[in-house]
């Protein structure tokens, strides 16, 4: 199918982008890699009047370190995230989960910032940055502000970004020494996660000292499996982890769609959380 008509802007800086977005208001849409937006346009599920292509804005792609924080530019492609040595060393969970996003061609174009701003709870990366306790940096008319991942995902396909804000970078506290695993369950290689579980585990003396768990597609936003996170510390064996994972679906409101009912998703969340935690702890 064919996208509807729109005006097009290709700003050359963050400031210009913000200005163009301000002028465009609610009817403007940011185009990053386009891997979420273009299918929506082609199916005529979105009708922006203005598409703001940030593909040529300098300085938005790339990865750097700032002390204990890893900074990933919003326009860094999935392909580059997966291969970046800094990401692999300091945010292995992000690299591992990104390797399963879309397919190679989609990963060449799609960006970390784009998939977070799209705020699709079925996407893999929102739950990952939630588990990583990342901060998302938005540039707006009044300058920059940091939005904690916990506050960034507001509702289904809705982020905390204002219409005149651009997501510019993702700041991730380094997780050196943490075990990690992203457990994606999908019906076919191409299909979206029915449920995904992003697990980070810090071990101490053979026991789990701390765990952070993000859930994909278990509600209208990505969620943390808080009850399980609280139950895990002190777990030293498979059975203890399994017990803790029993509460993984607590507080979730999973959707009903072609790939699963809410009940099935709750069940999957428990099974996959156990598997993800065990894998992250190196005992799975």
């Amino acid at each position: 199918m064919i996208p509807p008509s729109f005006e097009y802007a290709r700003p050359g800086s963050v400031e210009e982008t913000v200005r163009v977005l301000s002028e465009g208001g609610e009817d403007a849409k940011v185009l990053a890699g386009g891997q979420s937006l273009l299918p929506l346009l082609r199916l005529r599920l979105a009708f922006p009047e203005l598409v703001v292509d940030v593909g040529r804005v300098p300085g938005l792609a790339g990865v750097r370190e700032e002390g204990t924080t890893l900074v990933v530019g919003a326009m860094t492609t999935h392909h580059d995230v997966v291969r970046d040595p800094l990401v692999r060393r300091h945010a292995g969970l992000l690299a591992a989960a990104t390797a399963g996003v879309g397919d190679p061609a989609v990963r060449h174009r799609g960006t970390l910032g784009g998939s977070l701003a799209h705020a699709d709870p079925a996407g893999d990366l929102p739950a990952v940055v939630l588990a990583l306790d990342a901060e998302l940096i938005a540039a707006g008319p009044g300058g920059r502000r940091a939005i904690p991942a916990r506050e960034f995902f507001v509702d289904y396909l809705q982020s905390a970004l204002e219409p005149d804000e651009l997501l510019v970078e993702i700041r991730i506290p380094k997780t050196d020494g943490w075990g990690f695993h992203y457990e994606k369950f999908h019906r076919s290689a191409q299909s979206w996660a029915v449920v995904g579980v992003a697990a980070l585990v810090r071990r101490d003396d053979g026991h789990i000292a701390e765990a952070r768990i993000g859930l994909t597609n278990m509600g209208s936003t990505p969620l943390r499996a808080t009850a399980t996170e609280e139950a895990l510390p002190g777990s030293g064996d498979t059975r203890a982890v399994a017990r803790a994972a029993e509460s993984a679906a607590t507080g979730t409101r999973p959707p009903r769609d072609l790939s699963g009912s809410p009940e099935y998703r709750e069940h999957l969340a428990r099974v996959l959380t156990r598997r993800a935690v065990l894998a992250a702890a190196g005992t799975g």
Binding site: I2, P4, P39, L43, H79, D103, A105, V106, A189
Partner: protein, 159 residues
Amino acid sequence: MTRISVKVDGTVYQDEVEPRLLLIHYLRDRLGLTGTPIGCDTSNCGVCTVDLDGASVKSCSVLAVQADGGEVTTVEGLATDGEWTGLQRAFHERHALQCGYCTPGMLMAARDLLRENPHPTPDEVRHALEGNLCRCTGYQNIVRAVLAAAETAGQGAAT
């Protein structure tokens, strides 16, 4: 209308295009490069895969304006002076195509794989092609062909 300049299969084109024009339609309808087909509207099928600035992309999910200043290689630009690439030869020799509609995309996706991973395992080949659907072959001969091309390339031939 937006003015763009794109190099496709070695030729530079300059055109005024609507911003919404998809790269695949620019190639097919404006440039007459119909070697790259189109097969879906959700970027699942991958038949429209081309190379943009050294990386495989689905040309149905890229606007022509996004390719401005870029360099595109399509299936029509693979062979040089009528000499097929190793992948084209391997697809022929291993019967990796039947109706051939997915073939341009498969070739471009496989080429991308071998550039990054010259010695893939069968499993890596399958995963690298997961964004490309084929309804005829059951994929088995495509996987075989990619592995064969990798092996031949390891012996010095171009892919």
